[in-house]
Symmetry: C2
Subunit: 296 residues, 2 copies
């Protein structure tokens, strides 16, 4: 195991333990909802978004306690989107990362409510940052970024265009719009919030938005590549699903080789933009470059 892999493993474990602190106790009449929420949050995942947030925060020398609630909140929003994506009315997936999806375990109605509950819990949790760091105006800035990047002009907007065009061929322009919102927006939020909570200026946050946009594109294109070249046992889901569903992907639009080059190009551009900033974080740089080689 390389140094990076080792460090990565330790950091993901740390993130998981921070997030767990913000999950609700499974008690009371609404116990089933609480179980569905915790089940969905604990089934796994790479924790990429809180990791990017935390490392950007470290890069900018952050010291505020307000970061903890936001690390949990971004993962809750991501998990909310997975629960609702998997529903019968949307992608109708029974498995994710090798585990049963929320509606497959708890039924459709409870999965809809668990998704709602996690989206709301993200804001309820982020609001705890007001108490962690009273009077810090950066908390309100972080809040505004989180809500904007999640909503109609962010993740949910991208998701709606994806859903509306399911089964139809997409233009490259539509595809890039979906990728930049559905996948990119939360990654942008992660890095921007990490910076803002560490006291970064609006200009710095905008430059990070650019870098994060490249990270998001690299990440999503690599997802499309893995659907063609990955191993089912690594991914925990069937491969070639895009082809079976006649889905337009970056690989169908640009071909496999060009897609691989573009992942490299976007990752390097992200690293270049980060390098222009007056701070550095070697681990963050490695993490981003690592996205090119990932197999899961």
């Amino acid at each position: 195991m390389t140094n990076f892999d080792d460090l990565m493993k330790r950091r993901v474990t740390e993130i998981k333990s921070i997030i767990k602190n913000y999950l609700p106790e499974e008690e009371g009449y609404q116990r089933t909802l609480l179980e569905a929420v915790d089940y969905s949050m604990l089934v796994g995942g790479k924790k990429l978004r809180p990791l990017l947030m935390q490392q950007t925060y470290v890069m900018f020398g952050g010291t505020s306690k307000a970061i903890g609630p936001f690390l949990a909140a971004i993962e809750m929003i991501h998990t909310h989107s997975l629960i609702h994506d998997d529903l019968p009315a949307l992608d109708n997936d029974e498995y994710r990362r090798g585990k049963k999806t929320t509606h497959a375990v708890y039924g459709e109605a409870m999965a809809i409510l668990a998704g709602d509950a996690l989206l709301n819990l993200a804001y309820e949790t982020a609001a705890k940052a007001f108490a962690e760091d009273p009077g810090n105006p950066d908390v309100a800035r972080a809040f505004t970024i989180l809500a904007h990047k999640t909503g109609i002009y962010g993740m949910l907007g991208g998701q709606s265009v994806d859903v509306e065009n399911a089964g139809k061929p997409l233009t490259k322009e539509q595809l890039l719009f979906i990728y930049s919102l559905k996948t990119g927006a939360l990654i942008e939020a992660s890095m921007m919030i990490g910076a803002v909570l560490a006291g970064a200026s609006d200009e710095e946050a905008e430059q990070l938005e650019q870098a994060a946009r490249c990270v998001g594109m690299a990440f999503q294109i690599q997802d499309d590549i893995l659907d063609v070249t990955g191993r089912e046992e690594d991914l925990g889901k069937p491969i070639n699903s895009d082809e079976r569903n006649q889905k337009t992907t970056y690989v169908t639009v640009r071909g496999l080789e060009a897609a691989r080059e573009d992942v490299k190009k976007y990752s390097e551009e992200a690293v270049r933009l980060l390098g222009e900033m007056p701070y550095e974080n070697e681990f963050l740089t490695e993490l981003i470059l690592h996205l090119i080689d990932r197999t899961i």
Copy 2:
């Protein structure tokens, strides 16, 4: 038309115009989502929650501009809950207030996303209050109340218990739990936020929470009564639906006469609690007493 009815009509019109200012423009690739969001928000409704918020705010002498975003946010959260309640996997309702429900018009997948988008838009909109009134710590307090009362320990928690027990007989204790969260929590949030944004103390907010709890109970019991005694053309939905669905309601548990008495009792208790406060608002008192006589 009485003075009160006239005033009520003017105030609801005013609230509607404030809310409209915070609704998104229907443009861009995500246009269908935007249409579904606007459709759901504009189909009607009594605007009871923003009205209670605004009038509590007036009662406490509020002057901050931060109230506008919260008036819109509470109605967005309420509308989010209606969209998801009506879904095939939950209540499966095709009509509400005489109009087609969101999934009946836009399909199930888009209705799920429109509900998500409105829940998120509520927080995105409420976050605008930070800019309307920078540095006002009451905005963070209002935010915390909004998220808490909407979530697992509020509206969504109540909704989950209701859904989980659909078709089963409920104990009176379970029924009151569902009512106090599913209906009560947002009414509590409305009055508490109105007070807090006007600078009320935590103790005052707690007393208002008690009053609002009574308002919520009166409102929900009256709903059960109207399902038995109301006119379909007034309600815009079929009556006797609870009996057909063998649903436990306050009327089935306590009988019609006792239910009527309890609506009166809860309304008067709410008014009494408000009367103990060192401020007054005659319109708010009338509004609450009016809940007893409402036919819609």
